[in-house]
Amino acid sequence: MAEFSITHTYQAAPERVFDAWLNPAVARLFLFATPAGEMIRAEVDARVGGRFTFTDRRPDMGDVLHTGEYLEIDRPRRLVFTFGVPQFNPDMTTVELDFAPAANGGCQLTLTQRQVPDEWADRSKEGWTKITASLEGALEGKKAQAWA
């Protein structure tokens, strides 16, 4: 029940829609963004096992860090990553993206969000403790990078 799927059809080719998620200059404009927030940091290590960090500066909450790992990268069909918001929650969420061709060269994207199942949760918690510790130093006084 803590899972859901949504779809959206784009008039762009699957390759373009897929690449948008892994290109930090584009991803920062929508991924983990919120209507009132400002994305001040977007770093992507686009490989399986690679990590990402997106920091959304919000008027009510300050800087909200989203970080996670890429589990599957199958361009342009499927992208799967985990993410968490360590400041608020040690639990992780998995997002699965399936990109299918649509009419007129477009792309239908299906996004499925799931909570990480119990058997992975303990390992995740350990991972998050390490990540949060190493992020503390990185967060202090670090300026947002300008992306070309």
Binding site: M1, A2, F4, I6, H8, Y10, Q11, A12, R16, V17, A20, V26, L29, F30, L31, F32, A33, T34, P35, N89, D91, L109, L111, Q113, Q115, V116, P117, D118, A121
Partner: protein, 104 residues
């Protein structure tokens, strides 16, 4: 409470227990019967469901009866709706970005 509720829902055994209780009150032993795991293991799952505010226990003598707490799902359902709306907004933003940068 929301975190406990979502954690409680993130397991197929626990979701199956909730599905069983949707048909009405049942004794713990009855609920545990269809599962291949021990009664002890099922009891742990039930405790997580109680902790998540999804299930209530009534003790009558030596019997423990479980019922679904319909309100327990409300907060989780609301959170899920908010998440879904946020992702829909993000997917729409991506659409706008792609249209504004046809060559990017």
């Amino acid at each position: 409470m929301l975190d406990e509720t979502l954690t409680a829902l993130a397991d197929p055994t626990r979701r199956a227990i909730l599905a069983r209780l949707a048909s009405g009150e049942a004794r713990v032993t009855e609920v545990a019967k269809p599962f291949a795991i021990s009664l002890n293991a099922v009891s742990k799952h039930i405790r997580m469901l109680e902790k998540g505010g999804l299930v209530r226990r009534r003790i009558a003598g030596r019997d423990h009866y479980l019922t679904l707490n319909p309100k327990g799902l409300d907060e989780a359902a609301q959170w899920i709706e908010e998440q879904r709306a946020l992702w829909q907004w993000r997917l729409a933003e991506l659409d706008r970005v792609l249209k504004e940068n046809p060559n990017g």
